[in-house]
Symmetry: C2
Subunit: 157 residues, 2 copies
């Protein structure tokens, strides 16, 4: 590694601090006809920034050695990790260097889902139900808003 690259390399503790602020662990369950149970489980780790700071996203990508920097929406970009192999490395990293905010709880649920997927449990009905339950406990605020929205819609029907 050149001296330049060494200087550029981020520190694990800085990454934890930045992810405590800006990171997101997310699991979506999408309907997909071609899957056995007609459902696809899509876990994802994301760090979103205004495009003026895309450089830092590339530095995070360089630190981990995988993941993709891509457009999030409008003037925002994201560093994104999908795929069980690399997500296992993300889980390993945050087990070694735990988050310090309440985001840690989300991470633990995320980690549990990844373990279930490692055991192919997402391909069984029971496993899928368990994953759906765990994922419903993640990022609670937005989910609660979503469900109150649903309730309002239902009650006005």
């Amino acid at each position: 590694m050149s001296a330049d690259n060494q200087q550029e390399r981020l520190d694990s503790k800085w990454i934890v601090g930045f992810v405590d602020g800006e990171g997101c662990f997310h699991v979506s369950i999408n309907k997909l006809q071609k899957m056995t149970l007609h459902c696809q489980v899509l876990p994802e780790f994301r760090v979103v920034q205004h495009q003026r700071d895309e450089k830092i996203l590339y530095k995070i990508q360089r630190y981990f050695g995988f993941g993709k920097v891509t457009r999030n929406h409008d003037d925002r970009k994201e560093f994104r990790v999908r795929g069980i192999k690399n997500l296992n490395k993300i889980v390993k990293f945050f087990k070694k260097y735990p988050l310090k905010t309440s985001k840690q709880k989300n991470f633990e649920l995320f980690s549990e889902i990844i373990q279930l997927m490692n055991k192919k449990k997402h391909l069984t009905k029971e496993g899928l139900q368990k994953i759906a339950k765990l994922s419903s406990q993640m990022n609670r605020k937005s989910r609660m808003l979503e469900s109150s929205e649903t309730i309002r819609q239902n009650s006005s029907e």
Copy 2:
């Protein structure tokens, strides 16, 4: 320091990462009749979090040994440092451990304003103008919105 406190103590690099995500350096210039130039310069360092994460704000306060944890607005709380003596310590910290995002540029402008205030330049007309110019270059996006708002107001007068 007890073993418990040692475990709880944050790391400088984690703080830099978290502030790169969630911190804010801000300087407001307020009209105040009792001041010599009828203006008060109010520099401030802030970290804002949802109240569910107020614990981490107290940990940051404990790390620095000064500053205040108080309500920001609605369900948000902030760790806030005001007062030139403590802000000099904040500047010293971020000179030792530089920020890695574009927030570093804001910090440099902030630091320059603090240096001018150390020399009491904010009590002179020229100094105040210089500070106003530097502060207008900080947090550009919101300030540009503010000034376009001002332009609209002026043009409609």
